[in-house]
């Protein structure tokens, strides 16, 4: 009798490690995708596409619904995610802003480290363009011209913490050249400034530049991507063009509220892994000219640290006030 009991207990003890595998997370109600922009913004469009694609490819047993929490420079959405602690039915789309904004904004009450990393999805490449009738045929030409007239040449772009300026800072540091950065709040105004001849150069997403290049209004000097872009076979990468800077990508991915069970994270990792292999997703990446930057949560966590540390240094060099 005692031996049977011991055997039974031993058997139970042996089976227990297998228990987590058996208790798999399955969503039981619609999954909320939180985004920090209003309808039509970059993260919103991506989230809606994901919801649609997941439904189309039947990757989840429940619907996914986009919840717009715009405002506060992205902080409203971030705060909301952390408030949803423990809720396994909420995920959020993060962009590079989520990592950099808290560095310069004292008002930020949470950072990306307060959330659960899930997956990294896409990297957005960029191209360096000038107006078609500019005297710079290669990137070298521009850099040399900038060295001859320090601070005179101008680049249009977004805010001081945007990727455009990050690239500029890295390039200036590497080459010793110096040119001015003029911020415009909207993409339209930046392009208009370039096409109107009011600035000399800009860093722009290939998708935004595509048509202007095709119409012959813009010339591409270099591409900034991990792997050379299919749409620009003849354009040198920054490194090939003679400027060897670390690749600081524009990223988008998924995070989740803190304190959710490990198997929920595994579920989402898996979901997005399967999504990224579908033809629908591949076509989307191709149309948008994104790069596949898929990373699971462990790698993503490391990426967050690397990226944040690097951004902190770059922002300090750029003269922004870094608060954490």
């Amino acid at each position: 009798m005692t031996r049977t009991l011991v055997a039974a207990l031993l058997g139970a003890a042996l089976l227990t490690p297998a228990a987590p595998v058996l208790a798999q997370f399955k969503p039981t109600k619609p999954i909320e995708i939180i985004v920090h922009t209003g309808p039509g913004g970059g993260a919103d469009v991506l989230a809606r596409f994901i919801a649609q694609a997941v439904e189309k490819e039947k990757l989840a047993s429940v619907r996914m619904q986009v919840n717009n929490k715009s405002g506060g420079g992205g902080l409203t959405a971030m705060n909301y995610v952390v408030e949803k602690k423990g809720d396994a039915h909420a995920i959020a789309i993060f962009t590079g802003n989520w990592l950099t904004n808290p560095l310069t904004q004292a008002e930020a009450k949470v950072t990306i480290k307060d959330m659960t990393p899930v997956v990294r999805l896409v990297l957005e490449p960029a191209v360096v363009v000038v107006k078609a009738d500019a005297p710079y045929k290669t990137l070298r030409d521009f850099i040399d011209a900038a060295k001859k007239q320090p601070g005179q040449l101008k680049q249009s772009g977004g805010s001081i913490t945007s990727r455009d300026n990050v690239i500029r800072q890295l390039m200036m540091k590497q080459t010793g050249a110096n040119w001015a950065f003029i911020s415009f709040p909207g993409g339209g105004e930046r392009i208009a400034a370039l096409l109107g001849g009011h600035v000399n150069m800009m860093v722009i997403e290939p998708q935004e530049a595509g048509e202007h290049i095709r119409a012959g209004n813009m010339r591409v000097l270099a591409q900034i991507a991990e792997k050379p872009l299919a749409a620009f076979p003849k354009v040198p990468t920054l490194k090939e063009a003679g400027v060897d800077i670390p690749y600081v990508p524009q990223v988008r991915g998924v995070v989740a509220p803190p304190g959710i069970p490990q198997d929920a994270v595994a579920y989402y990792e898996d979901l997005f892994a399967r999504l990224s292999k579908t033809a629908t997703w591949r076509k989307y990446l191709e149309d948008q000219q994104f790069e596949d930057g898929f990373q699971r949560s462990a790698e993503l966590s490391q990426f967050f640290d690397q990226f944040t540390n690097r951004m902190r240094e770059i922002l300090k060099d750029a003269g922004a006030k870094v608060v954490r």
């Binding site: 309808p39 039509g40 409203t76 601070g151 001849g197």
Partner: protein, 503 residues
């Protein structure tokens, strides 16, 4: 494809039964969205995007464009009837439109708004069709110094909006400038005046201030008296529900003014319909034979801004369609829609997709007619809202204000700010501070500061850049002239008095 054959082809596309239906759907939705404060065409278009994937792109753009310019028609309704700006550009319509309603001419005001919108909208489409490419090139030569001059001109309009006390008008404008600078500075990522609240990092949304100061402030003022008579007399009879011939004649210049100013300003990426309405209103007042009557309910004061904000849509489509550059948040979403449907907006888009361009242009003519036909019969219906006893109307206005503000970003913080601005609006009324300059300062302050800093960055600190370029020099010169007007007037009055005294 030249203009005439393009247009004929376009009409054949636009009057296809399916496209007519989509045009109507868009116009109708746009009108509803425009009437509701806070809910804007940009958000509506974005939410409808998934539905458009299965549609033909031409039909889809016809519908979405209908929402865009339809909203401009609807925006005047609540501005005139309730002093609640339906969307940002309708703020200027409140100034004279609501006063006309107080005098019993609500129907006439609504009618003039609809007619001005129709005329200006049509002019905008014609201009879009005929002069887009050369105009787009001219628009590109506009950059920060010119924008600064334009904003300075707009702010100089405060002199024209001043009324009795210029000092108070300027003070109101300065407060508006201060509110505009709340938020994150674009150039240095520094937070200004956020008092530690992350909700203020993106600044104070214009809608909150406008609805608070205008609508809530007005209601609070009206609630001072318990036994107030019907504050807004209900127009009776068809004659009173529509504008009279005299009123329409008075608006002749305003129709023209609104159409041209709105379109030209719309073409500039980044300058919006609000500044178009203000400048058009200012010009109308400046050339009027009775400028002192503006603000008390003159029909031209409704026709000019309403026309401007409608033809601005035509203007905003110019850079979008000819260059692929979005000029405002709504055109940015339309652009995103075009990309999602597989089209490539840019300089070659019209060439590659003549069907879409001409079909869209033709549908805008059709749409404007539809909107006129839709809106005019609704006027008597809307005017009936004024029949409500005030004790019911005022809570409803509070309710609409709260909903309108909350719908902007779903934040209760915004609704609290509505309360604060409502109190501010009331205090301004009691102390005789005009509210239009506050709004003007708020709208322009941001853009003007940005344009100035961008200009100085472009010129490495040389202020001369602002006057060395012809266009900006001219506009700045005009601004200075307008600012000196009160001095001229006073000097003139003194001179006249001196002459009279000397016999």
């Amino acid at each position: 494809m030249d203009v005439l054959s393009g247009l004929i082809h376009g009409f054949s596309v636009a009057v296809a039964p399916a496209n007519l239906m989509w045009c109507f759907v868009g116009c109708f939705l746009g009108t509803v969205v425009g009437i509701m404060p806070g809910l804007g065409p940009a958000a509506t278009i974005a939410m409808l995007l998934p539905l458009t994937f299965k549609m033909d792109p031409t039909s889809a753009i016809i519908m979405l464009a209908g929402i865009y310019y339809g909203a401009k028609y609807g925006g005047s309704t609540t501005s005139i009837l309730l002093n609640v700006p339906g969307e940002s550009a309708s703020v200027v319509t409140c100034l004279d439109g609501y006063q006309m309603a107080r005098k019993g001419r609500a129907g006439a005001a609504l009618g003039i708004a609809a007619i001005a919108s129709f005329i200006a909208g049509t002019v905008g489409v014609i201009a879009l069709m005929l002069i887009s490419p050369p105009l787009a090139k001219v628009a590109l030569s506009f950059s920060s110094p010119e924008y600064f001059a334009l904003m300075a001109l707009g702010l100089a309009m405060v002199v024209l909006l001043a009324g009795k006390s210029l000092v108070k008008a300027l003070l109101a404008m300065l407060v508006g400038l201060w509110i505009a600078s709340i938020g994150t500075d674009l150039f240095t990522a520094t937070s200004r005046f956020t008092f530690g609240h992350s909700e203020l990092l993106d600044g104070v949304d214009f809608v909150i201030v406008a609805i608070g100061v205008f609508a809530v402030g007005e209601v609070l003022g009206n609630m001072e008296q318990r036994e107030a008579p019907q504050v807004l007399p209900v127009p009776k009879g068809l004659r009173n529900l529509l504008p009279t011939v005299e009123e329409l004649k008075a608006c002749r210049f305003a129709f023209l003014n609104g159409s041209i100013v709105g379109f030209l300003i719309g073409v500039l990426p980044g300058a919006g319909s609000t500044i178009a309405s203000f400048i058009s209103y200012g010009i109308e007042k400046a050339v009027s034979k009775h400028p002192e009557k503006f603000g008390t309910g003159v029909p031209e004061g409704v026709a000019a801004p309403e026309g401007a904000n409608n033809s601005e849509t035509g203007g905003a489509l110019v850079p979008m369609l000819t260059l692929g550059i979005p000029g405002s948040s709504t055109t940015a979403i339309l652009l995103a829609a075009l990309i999602l449907w597989g089209l490539k907006p840019g300089p070659l888009m019209i060439q590659d997709n003549p069907n879409l361009f001409w079909g869209l242009v033709a549908s805008m003519y059709v749409g404007n007619v539809m909107l006129l036909v839709l809106n005019i019969p609704l006027i008597p219906l809307f005017a009936q809202i004024l029949r409500l006893p005030v004790e019911l109307l005022y809570p409803i206005i509070f309710g609409i204000s709260m909903v309108g503000v909350y719908s902007v970003s779903g934040s209760l913080f915004d609704v609290w700010m509505l309360s604060a601005f409502g109190l501010l609006g009331y205090l301004m009324r009691k102390l005789d501070y005009p509210s239009a300059p506050l709004i003007l300062g708020l709208v322009l302050g941001d853009s003007m500061e940005r344009a100035l800093r961008q200009s100085l960055m472009m010129s490495q600190g040389e202020l001369g850049i602002l006057v060395s370029r012809p266009i900006s020099a001219v506009m700045l010169g005009l601004a200075v002239l307008i600012l000196l007007l009160p001095l001229f007037r006073r000097a003139n009055a003194w001179r006249v008095r001196a002459l009279e005294e000397n016999g």
